[in-house]
């Protein structure tokens, strides 16, 4: 028998290395831009492509999928080959994976500012890109499983398990959440409506955090932290328990994003309970990481890589403690819809993901280019810039969050809101927004220092050729065990039959569910009617401009909210909402009752407000939308939209496609007439008309029409 010779593919690691660096800086830059847009609306530049509503999804996508995503793959391709003692299963797949993934990111960077979005957080990309994501993801999975099969190391190190979990769960989450009915190449409607859509979305949204930002990074932590510290992980046994406990618990924490919303109580509490239970495995993992450094703290003081890792793991511990706390109802009542959540996620993103990635980049660069780090001092400078940046970021944001919540809820002794005008609560936050932008600047500066340091490092070395390795294949030595599995199944027919039964049962369930889902999209409140064609088009514009990024449509059953906005939101009001637009943050006021009661404003108000918000609300930080007034809407796709909605269960009568445009025009002319009365001349096909129609529709569901 012969030893097998093989070479590790270092090039693919270098490719992902640079992608991580480039996208990281991009994500930070976009983040800084939107941070500046809040205190200074002028940074929206008066152009549709760069408004907050469109850049915010770009920022989150760039941070999560571009920066962290490429970071995962960089770390994976380096570690997995070495852990499995095998070159990647297929170099072609590796290349397809790299170019495909980064093409998707480029597509996101173009489509999101262009306003092409599904409005579902962290899943904003439209359906053709969704399909591409699924394909590229599977390419990675095939490559990984292929490498596992041909591995030459029998034991699969715990990091590999975290990568496998990432692959399996993200594939499932992405596919289930992205089920949508296309209208055109760049437009689709979510399969689910309203509350159901919200449930699916946050089941996905939370687990995306879990399985994209957490599990793969735990895998990286379990490989690179021992490597950097040159000592084995504190307890390998604990890491294995950590993995299995996390895997079986994480998937049910999602509904905690929907506390006090119109989802059923039990679903909300389910989310809370499982979130609390998650503290145990999360902290187990964190302690395991930190204790790995026991006895090596003197080295942590000298080695910036270990510093990055230690702070990263501590940030993980912080955010995994804070998360369960935030999913407690009374805590959530304060934190939700405020900047508190923004602080929380940035502890995770900047601290856990960001710093760990920087640690990896500094650790890998000398190894990939066979040289020494250009400057340890600069790496230390980066460390302090990044750490201070995080502090300057999160402290004002926690402060802002709590301030917001308190201001919103403050009543006079007479029982009136102290700040009835939402804008007043916003203006008090401006100094904090500036401080946050300063923190972001520090963080970005730090990353630029890193880029300089890395470029200098790389220039001082030369790419390490794929090193030749040799190892004996596993197969011939292990083949005495091949009949093993069968024996188990034969000897234990009962569990086997049961398992197959469960599998079949679930398969059947999945088959029937879409039918159920559509069927249950029927109004339970008789006054709730489908959107008129004009309102539907207006809603699509609302989605295009990303209004949901700052305005929620979910009035919680608190007196402070019903006092401010009106009747709290009911589940039955959303049955025709494909997708749901509840939002997750109130930079501006909630809009769910915008068309009724005391909040209802004349059409002209909306017209002027969109042209320049400050003309109607002095001091407002909302961007200007002058293009809505001038651009004509293209109604060519209206029949298709109507028919897609009908497929999803919205009860438009048969053949309504043909009269929809007529109805639309009639309703638009009405609004044009209203505007004319206020001295505004415009035409029925302008985008603003549709948007006004939608805004005036909001909240009317519970009123008889």
């Amino acid at each position: 028998m012969e030893m097998e010779k093989f070479r590790y593919d270092n090039q693919i690691v270098r490719m992902f290395f640079w992608a991580t660096v480039v996208w990281g800086v991009t994500a930070f830059l976009v983040g800084l831009t939107i941070a500046l847009q809040l205190p200074a609306p002028v940074f929206n530049f008066g152009t549709s492509w760069l408004t907050f509503g469109r850049l915010r999804p770009l920022h989150t996508n760039a941070a999560i999928f571009a920066f962290v995503g490429n970071g995962i793959f960089m770390g994976y391709y380096y570690a997995a080959q070495r852990l499995l003692k095998a070159r990647n299963f297929s170099d072609t797949l590796s290349r397809i994976h790299f170019w495909g993934w980064n093409a998707i990111i480029v597509a996101a960077a173009i489509t999101l500012p262009a306003g092409l979005t599904t409005a579902k957080e962290y899943a904003e990309l439209e359906w053709p890109i969704d399909i591409a994501i699924a394909l590229i993801w599977v390419a990675w999975g095939v490559n990984m499983i292929g490498t596992i099969i041909k591995r030459r190391e029998k034991h699969m190190y715990v990091a590999m398990w975290f990568f496998i979990a990432t692959f399996v769960t993200i594939a499932m989450l992405h596919i289930v959440n992205s089920l949508e009915v296309p209208v055109s190449f760049w437009k689709s409607y979510s399969l689910y409506a309203g509350v159901q859509d919200a449930l699916v979305q946050w089941w996905y949204g939370h687990n995306a955090v879990a399985f994209f930002l957490t599990t793969p990074y735990l895998g990286l932590m379990y490989y690179y932290m021992p490597k950097a510290a040159q000592r084995p992980v504190y307890s390998y046994r604990l890491s294995v328990i950590h993995f299995w406990a996390l895997i079986f618990l994480y998937i049910w924490a999602g509904p905690h994003h929907l506390l006090y919303s119109s989802t059923p109580d039990w679903a909300q509490t389910l989310g809370t309970v499982f979130s609390i239970m998650l503290i145990a495995p999360s902290w187990g993992g964190m302690l395991n990481g930190l204790l790995t450094l026991r006895g090596a703290w003197d080295r942590v003081r000298q080695d910036p890589i270990l510093k990055f890792m230690v702070v990263a793991v501590s940030a993980y511990g912080m955010s995994t403690f804070e998360g369960p706390m935030m999913s407690l109802k009374n805590y959530n009542a304060i934190s939700h819809f405020t900047d508190y959540t923004i602080a929380h996620v940035h502890i995770g993103a900047l601290g856990w993901n960001g710093l760990l990635t920087f640690g990896l980049l500094y650790w890998l660069a000398p190894r990939l280019w066979n040289t020494k780090l250009y400057s340890v001092k600069l790496a230390n400078v980066h460390f302090w810039l990044a750490t201070l940046g995080i502090i300057f970021y999160v402290i004002p944001m926690y402060w802002t969050g709590i301030t917001q919540a308190l201001l919103w809820k403050q009543f006079t002794p007479e029982g009136l809101l102290v700040y009835p005008n939402f804008l007043e609560t916003v203006l008090q936050l401006i100094p904090m927004y500036w401080t946050r932008a300063f923190g972001g600047t520090l963080y970005l500066t730090g990353s630029l220092v890193m880029v300089y340091n890395l470029v200098k490092t790389v220039k001082s070395g030369s790419p390490v050729e794929d090193e030749e390795m040799e190892a004996a294949p596993l197969k011939p030595i292990e083949n005495e065990k091949t009949d093993y599995k069968h024996r188990w199944l034969e000897a234990r027919p009962v569990p086997f039959i049961l398992l197959s039964f469960i599998a079949v049962a679930i398969g059947g369930l999945v088959e029937f569910v879409p039918m159920f889902v559509v069927k249950s999209n029927i109004a339970t409140i008789s006054t709730v009617t489908p959107y008129t064609p004009l309102e539907l088009e207006g809603r699509d514009l609302y989605i295009r401009e990303g209004c949901f990024n700052c305005h929620s449509q979910m009035i919680r059953p608190f007196r402070s909210e019903t006092e401010r906005y009106g009747e709290y939101s009911k589940a039955g009001e959303y049955v025709y909402d494909h997708p749901f637009l509840w939002g997750s943050k109130r930079t501006g006021p909630d809009l769910h009752r915008e068309g009724v009661g005391k909040l209802k404003k004349p059409d002209a108000w909306h017209y002027n407000h969109m042209d320049n918000p400050r003309s109607m609300s002095p001091g407002s930080i909302m961007p200007v939308y002058p293009w809505l007034l001038t651009r004509s809407n293209d109604y060519a796709k209206l029949p298709k939209k109507i028919s897609a909605m009908r497929t999803l269960g919205v009860p438009y009568p048969d053949g309504y496609e043909d009269q929809a445009l007529g109805d639309l025009k009639k309703q638009a002319e009405g609004i044009v007439g209203n505007l004319k009365d206020s001295g505004i001349e415009t035409s029925w096909d302008k985008e603003i008309i549709a948007l006004i129609a939608y805004l005036q529709k909001l909240g009317t569901g519970i009123l008889p029409r």
């Binding site: 590790y8 070495r82 852990l83 190391e153 029998k154 034991h155 699969m156 190190y157 715990v158 398990w161 496998i164 979990a165 399996v168 769960t169 499932m172 289930v176 689910y192 509350v195 159901q196 449930l199 699916v200 089941w203 490989y223 021992p226 490597k227 040159q230 000592r231 084995p232 992980v233 390998y236 046994r237 890491s239 294995v240 299995w244 895997i247 079986f248 998937i251 049910w252 059923p264 679903a267 090193e467 030749e468 390795m469 065990k481 093993y484 599995k485 188990w488 398992l499 469960i502 599998a503 679930i506 369930l509 999945v510 029937f512 569910v513 879409p514 159920f516 889902v517 069927k519 249950s520």
Partner: protein
Amino acid sequence: MYVMFLLMGASLMASLIFLGAYIWSVRSGQFDDKYTPSVRILFDDKKKSKKSDTENDSGINEEEKK
């Protein structure tokens, strides 16, 4: 709320995959040694620099013969 069925079904399916993986890893002895793998990953693979692979099959035998 029938969408819960979909979510539960999908989650259950994923956890079945993991259950299968767990059963495989127990059966195939992945948990036999809960310490050595954590040390093993620390060793860097070093390529052989000089000396061709066939020239000498062992340094040991010569030492023993002395």
